[in-house]
């Protein structure tokens, strides 16, 4: 393994994290809540250590696939561990483990919190929590590849490990330009959202934080009341639509910019995604009709919750713990499915679901006619064998891991619904689950070891399992 390269890369990431904390530091200065010192005591040592590590002389060796996965997994752990320091120093979190859980939840865009009232925190810390969603949404390494010049490097390995979905592709030949296009689209959409929210009467500070949470499909709110607290149908609808938009594969936006709208309309994944949203919204709206007493309100609630859960954002405008069982079960299903590949959302990804479902039909055809040659097709093109097999293995591993995490979590003593949905909510980077971790509750019900376990679940889910596994594989360290 190319240790020097990994160390120098991690150094760059620490350095960049120190820079990324500066906006939060400025916010802390502006509001003067006394959390500025927490940031300063983190930024300065980080900048020094990061700078020194990044200076480690590298060997000429090229980066292998193993190095790439290793860097990504380590980088995500390192940024979370460092990012949690100002949270802990700023007060508000009883233990460092609590702060770490909160930070992992931020970077993985989960949005699960252990706080009953986030508004008690300083403004700088609230901002940093939400800003971590924004960075984590598009990817830390994608960001690094954009700002750090890389020469003669196999950056594809990094991107493949970080970008969600069965396959990772580039938009243009250069990785750096690709990162710039992705972050450009992402930033532009975020800015539009900030303006729309601000115009809709949301305080400026809130519109920044909520927009970051929406863009990264994270889900940290600025206070316990969440999005419902603004009591504005306009804000709910704007956020509902933007959550959906950020759950679409960003490659489609690039195609749109190139003027290839026709190809965008052909995207099978996007169609299935919108179809699932429409169907679930109608089903839930009808199901909850006798609770809300108004068709408009029930559609509004149903749409917001569906959009929030399928994109794995985790904002809530109602406590769906009180919804009828059928609606809750639909939400559970959406939790597993997740958003589109190549978006900022988590979950299993729509394209994987399509591939697995189609594989099932192919299997049936092959049972009927054993000699038939049938292809699994996505966007009318046959899916290649490598992608097919890795998708199937991913889905199987995913299911087994969910079960494993739930069993381990049950040691903490809570009920099945709570444990199962807590694991789903963390692994798929959603945020709130059902039962004792529902939208009105928080994760402080779990003990410190259980929070560490859930943090591991969040990271494993965000990086799509295998980079995390690699950290513990003996063969990777040889």
């Amino acid at each position: 393994m190319n240790k020097r390269k990994i160390i120098s890369f991690i150094g760059k990431i620490i350095l960049i994290e120190a820079v990324l904390m500066i906006p939060a530091l400025l916010v802390a200065f502006i509001y003067g809540d006394g959390d500025a010192s927490a940031f300063l005591t983190t930024i300065i040592p980080c900048a020094i250590i990061g700078f020194l590590l990044s200076r480690v002389k590298q060997s000429e060796e090229r980066m292998s696939s193993r190095d790439g996965y290793f860097i990504v997994a380590t980088a995500w752990i390192v940024i979370s561990v460092i990012g949690a320091i100002p949270l802990y120093l700023g007060g508000g979190f009883p233990t460092y483990i609590n702060a770490l859980f909160e930070m992992v939840s931020g970077f993985t865009t989960t949005g699960a919190s252990i706080l009953a009232e986030p508004a008690d925190l300083g403004h700088g810390i609230i901002f940093w929590r939400s800003f971590s969603h924004w960075i984590g949404g598009m990817g830390v390494l994608v960001f690094v590849l954009m700002v750090m010049p890389m020469e003669n490097d196999n950056s594809m390995h990094l991107v493949r490990a970080e970008v969600p979905g069965p396959t990772a592709g580039k938009l243009v030949p250069r990785m750096r330009t690709t990162s710039m296009i992705l972050y450009g689209i992402y930033t532009a959409m975020t800015v539009i959202l900030i303006v729309l929210l601000w115009v809709g009467g949301m305080p400026a500070f809130d519109s920044f934080c909520i927009a970051f949470g929406t863009a990264g499909t994270g889900g940290f709110a600025v206070n316990a009341a969440g999005i419902g607290g603004y009591a504005s149908a306009y804000i709910e609808i704007v956020i509902g639509i933007f959550m959906l938009l950020f759950g679409v594969n960003f490659n489609l936006y690039h195609l749109l910019l190139l003027g290839k709208a026709k190809e965008v309309l052909k995207s099978e994944e996007a169609k299935v995604y919108l179809g699932i949203v429409a169907l679930s919204t109608v089903a839930i709206a009808v199901n909850v009709l006798n609770q809300t007493q108004s068709i408009g309100k029930s559609f509004r609630d149903a749409f917001f919750q569906v959009s929030s859960i399928i994109t794995t954002t985790g904002f809530a405008t109602v406590d769906y713990n009180y919804w009828p069982e059928f609606s809750k079960h639909i939400l559970l299903l959406l939790m597993v499915i997740g958003a589109c590949a190549g978006s900022t959302g988590g979950g299993m990804k729509i394209s994987r679901v399509i591939i697995v479902v189609k594989s099932m039909f192919v299997e049936i055809k092959q049972i009927i006619a054993p000699k038939a040659v049938v292809n699994v097709r996505l966007d009318k093109k046959p899916v290649d064998k490598q992608t097919l097999s890795s998708t199937r293995i991913y889905v199987t591993t995913y299911m087994l891991l969910i079960c494993l995490f739930t069993v381990l979590l049950s040691l903490d003593g809570l009920d099945l619904t709570t444990n199962f949905t807590a694991v789903l909510a963390c692994f798929n980077n959603i945020g709130p689950g059902l039962g004792a971790v529902g939208p009105a509750a928080n994760f402080s019900v779990y003990s410190d070891p259980a929070q560490l376990l859930l943090s591991a679940a969040m990271l494993t889910g965000r990086l799509e399992i295998f980079p995390m596994f690699l950290l513990f594989a003996k063969s990777a360290h040889e």
């Binding site: 090229r62 890389m150 003669n152 196999n154 594809m156 243009v172 030949p173 990785m175």
Partner: protein, 460 residues
């Protein structure tokens, strides 16, 4: 001048040549797209380089349109099939690619390359096999040289030579060599302990140095004679492998009256080459086995052994074997540079690579497009020592800067040197009083830097 960051290059075919070319172009900073039919090729290329790879047919209009080939500055087709390359280039040309380069190696097509260039709109035809054969042929003329390149339409040469303990040049300074020994050649670059530098007048040549010298073809002959270095023509040469390079090489050697023995294991291939080339002694056998059957006098009378099979490992083993048999000149073809490490450090085997030859041509072409708006035309470009040293040949015209100024009044950048000025078919070794005039061809040597214009070598 165009920026190479904005220059888009498309390559069809990710084989040995395509891969070598892609690696070099990416390192030089061009924006690159590679198309190949083979999925495994695409996956491995995409994993190892910062480029876009697409699996598909590079001659298909639909594929090329999808990849937006109309934006291409250079479109290169280097698949194994000449027909495929011609069709790809034609299609790309029709779709709006600015410049197209096709690899054409079939003897019949290659003879009529002007037709493809002028009538079919293909900007450049490269024939790596023929070019490699020419390089080997030049090497054979200077047995001591490890590489020989020509420029100025064949009038001047660039020779790479390793200095031995007993060489008359050992422990001499450059001034001594040029004044006392009366050698009218310029030593442009020296490589010592893997570091390349431009030597000064008082630089002492050590044993083990690799020298790069330029000068007129006849001056090399004179100099070699004065130094008592062998320049005797090769009389009998043995070639292993009956591929296209071997064919071109054997043809060249035959024209100059050299006796050629060609050993090819495959019966059909052997029959085919014997049919096409009258006068070549074709043997259908394994080259190594044939060596063992040769009498000692046969071996002593073999002036050079050249191994050109498709198999790198075989070539290197055969070359080392021939070296152990004391054959004075051994040349091996290698596709993948990484294989070279199996050669012992003191080995004198010369290496030629079809991939490097093709890459140099295409790089030279793209470098000349970089300054298409300027008037310096890059006539040729040679890259030595893995690209550490570059020799570029510029055609100078009246719009150039720094014309008619004595060179001693111009400040040259570090590690850059004018190796030769060619004026009216005469070759000048530049001295301080010489000037550059419009119409000259100038050969420039640069170390660890890449230039696209002649004026880049002077500090402002």
């Amino acid at each position: 001048m165009r920026n190479r960051k904005t220059m888009k290059i498309f390559i069809v075919g990710g084989g040995n040549i395509g891969r070598a070319l892609a690696r070099q172009l990416v390192n030089d900073g061009y924006e690159l797209t590679v198309i190949d039919r083979d999925e495994s090729v695409i996956v491995s290329l995409g994993n190892s380089m910062d480029i876009i790879c697409l699996q598909g047919n590079g001659a298909s209009c639909a594929t090329l349109q999808e990849m937006n080939v109309s934006a291409a500055d250079i479109f290169v087709s280097v698949t194994n099939s000449d027909e495929m390359n011609i069709l790809s280039c034609l299609t790309a040309h029709m779709l709006g690619a600015k410049h197209t380069i096709a690899r054409i190696r079939d003897v019949d097509y290659a003879r009529r390359y002007r037709f493809y260039r002028d009538k079919m709109g293909i900007s450049m035809i490269i024939n790596p096999e023929l070019a490699t054969a020419m390089e080997i042929y030049r090497l054979l003329r200077f047995p001591l040289a490890t590489r020989v390149e020509v420029f100025a339409k064949g009038r001047a040469e660039l020779v790479e030579m390793m200095i031995e303990e007993d060489s008359p040049l050992t422990d001499k300074t450059l001034i001594e060599i040029s004044q006392n020994m009366g050698i009218n050649l310029l030593i442009c670059a020296v490589v010592r302990d893997e570091e390349a530098f431009v030597p000064k007048g008082d630089t002492v040549i050590h044993a083990g140095d690799v020298l790069y010298m330029t000068g007129a073809v006849q001056e090399f002959r004179k100099a070699f004679k004065k130094l008592n270095l062998p320049i005797k023509p090769m009389k009998s040469i043995m070639i292993a492998g009956g591929g296209i390079i071997s064919y071109y090489l054997a043809e060249l050697l035959l024209q100059h009256g050299t006796k050629v023995t060609l050993v090819e294991q495959n019966e059909e291939e052997a029959a085919l080459i014997a049919e096409k080339l009258d006068g070549v002694n074709v043997i259908c056998d394994d080259a190594l086995a044939y060596f063992d059957n040769m009498s000692q006098s046969d071996i002593t009378h073999t002036d050079a052994f050249i191994t050109l099979t498709e198999n790198d490992e075989y070539n290197l083993v055969a070359a080392m074997y021939a070296e152990s048999k004391d054959i004075s000149k051994v040349i091996s073809r290698v596709k993948m540079k990484s294989r070279l490490h199996v050669l012992p450090d003191d080995s004198k085997v010369c290496i030629v690579s079809r991939e490097d030859v093709a890459t140099d041509r295409i790089l030279g072409y793209s470098r000349s497009l970089l300054n298409a708006e300027d008037n310096d035309a890059v006539e040729s470009l040679y890259r030595l020592m893995d690209g550490k040293i570059e020799f570029i040949e510029f055609k100078v015209d009246e719009n150039d800067k720094n014309l008619d100024i004595p060179l001693k009044n111009l400040k040259m950048k570090r590690n850059m040197l004018i190796g030769c000025i060619i004026r009216d078919a005469k070759i000048l070794i530049p001295r301080g009083d010489d000037v550059i005039k419009a119409g000259d061809t100038v050969l420039v040597a640069t170390i660890n830097s890449q230039i696209a214009r002649l004026e880049d070598i002077f500090s402002a």
